[in-house]
């Protein structure tokens, strides 16, 4: 599965994208390199809102985005 890290979250993860193979569905928090607890981060799973509790599969696309307020 592919996880994209946008904005400052790329700094947090040290990369802009991460490809990962998972054998069975897992909660997102088990594969993220950092915790979302007390962080204001938007989680999108297959174009739908999610959370670190979302159960993800190998074919899913996940994007972690900062909350921003426009230029």
């Amino acid at each position: 599965m592919k996880i994209k890290f946008l904005g400052w979250i790329a700094s947090l993860s040290g990369k802009r994208e991460m490809d990962i193979e998972i054998e069975a569905p897992v909660q997102l928090r088990e594969i993220l390199p950092f915790s979302l607890h007390e962080r204001n981060i938007i989680v999108i799973v297959n174009n739908r809102p999610g959370s670190e509790q979302s159960v993800v599969k190998n074919e899913d696309n996940v994007t972690l985005m900062p909350v921003i307020s426009g230029g």
């Binding site: 946008l6 809102p49 994007t63 985005m65 900062p66 909350v67 921003i68 307020s69 426009g70 230029g71």
Partner: protein, 603 residues
């Protein structure tokens, strides 16, 4: 009073006279400053139907109780007038040394009346106010004019200036400062030009009266440190608002080909990472420790300051995927004194009209030469540019043939850089924004994407109103920049504390939101007084978002559902205490302490 100077400077450029007006604490507490002061003055002192480009219009520069103080991002000022672009209330804010100097000169606002016989500029140095000859400055760009004025009056002076576009009464001309800061999208620069005022130069050397100066200094320092220690701070310093480009493209809301699509194939060529490769400097507003003006060299090697809005509209929206070329357009717009957002809309509209064979000439998507030529036509009102300079609403009415469906504006003000096909709440935010389609008042899209962007819900409407209260009400009246709040997570709880130290007054968060409600209601009354038919039909987003679904990207096939939108609009009015036509009820106005407005609307 503490926090407020309690004085407004009035300058009549017809009579070449100035005077100082004191105002009451009650006025300060009810309207706070900035936008609140501006709309109250325009409401009280305006007869209905004033021509925005006549001597009767008033150009207002208004600071607030936090402006110029050593607290987070407080170097901003509001510029307001009746808008020549929309015919309604118009304003904007910009960061400038002039904001700090105004407050240190002993004033909280300047109201400029009349029309000078010849080009002039207003020079203010504490109590000294002079109206000086500007014939040598008339006809030159904002960068050169500001350099000349700084040469004459010194580096400490703050300068508010217009370019050739403002002089030529181009209706998308804002006021500029410090070679890249602009405010007053709905033609505030044209209002200044109509008065033959090229610039306002301010030097102030006094202390702003404060309730607890030491406490404020300490609190301000703590606030700056809090901002600096935020996890997202370093990345913000790297990219500033330019990070939004990747964000918007990934979210299918990047304006592309005149808001036809929300994703752009060449987005990587104009995003924040590309900007970092070209970056040569960073600039910003006074009193800010998260300065967001990223300076790059454009394709001709000249410095240009970029932010997301400029690049979204002068890049993807016109099909241009080369940041050095976008930078050239941006610099040129800043020099001539054009609003980059509206300019990008107009150019996109013309390119689409050309593609649809509705124009005799050809303008190609993504052509730098065509875009630059159009920009010049607008700024100098050359031939076809005379129509372009009136904005897309006017253009669409002139061209006809269904072009009104893709003239991307609300209430006559062109849309900021967020495509709303797949963001109905953001469409409502644009449509109910008090000056037209501008992101300043409400930027719901982050919240909408994080929750459920396809929903048409009461929760979405309630969130929109809360954001309008905070952004369009509180921050525009403090006057301080809203970016520390969301972008790095600087808590709103700081602001009542800043206010307490500055003014000695206790403000609860709810009281500040009520000030926001009061301002919104009064602006609404202003529009209604100007336009007897003003109401629900004015609160509609561009037709394109209802009728032409996205054809690309992950949200392909999505458009705004009209029935869902209408439902949210009705909830919006109900929650605001406005009637079903969107006019504040007598009860709402009375509850907000606006009985005089109620009486004026219902004689």
């Amino acid at each position: 009073m503490h926090g407020w100077n309690g004085q407004i400077l009035r300058v009549d450029v017809t009579k070449k006279k100035s005077s100082v007006q004191s105002y009451s604490k009650d006025f300060a507490l009810k309207f706070l400053g900035g936008r609140g002061f501006a709309v109250k003055v325009l409401w009280d002192e305006f007869p209905k139907g004033v021509d925005p480009l006549s001597a009767q219009n008033k150009l207002i520069f208004a600071a607030g109780p936090l402006t110029g103080l050593p607290v987070a991002s407080s170097g901003k000022i509001v510029v307001a007038a009746k808008s020549p672009l929309t015919g309604g209330y118009g304003d904007g804010n910009l960061g400038t040394r002039a904001a700090v100097n105004l407050r240190q000169a002993g004033y909280d606002a300047i109201i400029i009346d009349g029309k000078a016989d010849n080009p002039c500029y207003i020079y203010i140095e504490n109590e000294k106010v002079e109206i000086l000859d500007a014939s040598d400055l008339w006809g030159i760009g904002t960068f050169e004019a500001e350099d000349e004025l700084i040469k004459m009056h010194g580096k400490a002076a703050g300068v508010l200036v217009i370019g050739q576009a403002g002089e030529n009464l181009v209706k998308i001309a804002p006021v500029l400062s410090q070679k890249g800061r602009a405010g007053g999208r709905p033609g505030m620069g044209a209002v200044m030009g109509s008065k033959h005022v090229k610039a306002v130069v301010i030097k102030g050397t006094k202390d702003i009266p404060l309730s607890d100066p030491d406490g404020l200094k300490k609190l301000g320092r703590e606030g700056y440190n809090d901002i600096k220690n935020k996890e997202s701070y370093d990345f913000w310093i790297r990219q500033g608002t330019m990070m939004a480009l990747e964000w918007a493209n990934e979210s299918s809301c990047l304006p592309t080909y005149n808001f036809r699509e929300g994703v752009f194939d060449e987005a990587k060529g104009i995003d924040g990472y590309r900007m970092e490769e070209l970056k040569v400097a960073r600039r910003g507003c006074p009193n800010c420790n998260m300065q967001c003006g990223n300076v790059v060299r454009d394709i001709k090697g000249e410095e240009a300051e970029l932010d997301y809005e400029n690049v979204g509209l002068l890049g993807s929206n016109i099909g241009l995927g080369d940041l050095e070329k976008v930078a050239l357009l941006n610099r040129q717009a800043d020099e001539w004194g054009l609003d980059t957002i509206s300019a990008g809309n107009i150019i996109g509209f013309v390119m689409e009209a050309s593609e649809k064979k509705l124009l005799p000439d050809t303008y190609q998507w993504g052509s730098l030469d065509d875009a630059r030529a159009l920009l010049e036509k607008i700024a100098f009102r050359q031939d076809f540019g005379n129509s372009l300079a009136e904005g897309v609403r006017y253009l669409a009415a002139k061209i006809g043939k269904e072009s009104t469906k893709w003239a991307m504006h609300c209430k006559g003000l062109e849309c900021s850089a967020y495509d709303c096909h797949a963001a109905p709440g953001m469409a409502l935010a644009f449509a109910t924004s008090s000056i037209g389609a501008h992101h300043k008042d409400a930027w719901l899209i982050s919240w909408e994407i994080a929750t459920d962007r396809s929903a048409y819900s009461r929760e979405k409407v309630a969130k929109l109103i809360e954001l309008q209260q905070i952004r369009g009400g509180v921050f525009e009246s403090l006057v301080a920049c809203r970016l520390p709040w969301i972008e790095v997570g600087f808590s709103l709880e700081w602001y009542p504390r800043f206010l307490k130290a500055a003014t000695g007054e206790e403000f609860t968060h709810q009281q500040l939101l009520t000030v926001g409600d009061r301002i919104y209601a009064l602006i609404r009354c202003f529009w209604k007084r100007e336009y007897p038919d003003f109401g629900r039909s004015w609160d509609m987003p561009p037709e394109r978002w209802f009728t032409e679904p996205l054809t690309k990207g992950p949200m392909k096939g999505t458009k705004v559902d009209r029935a869902g939108y209408e439902k949210m609009l009705s909830w919006y009015y109900e929650m605001r205490g406005w009637d079903s036509n969107g006019i504040p009820t007598n009860k709402t106005l009375e509850n907000l302490g606006l009985s005089d407005a109620s009486a004026a609307l219902n004689p």
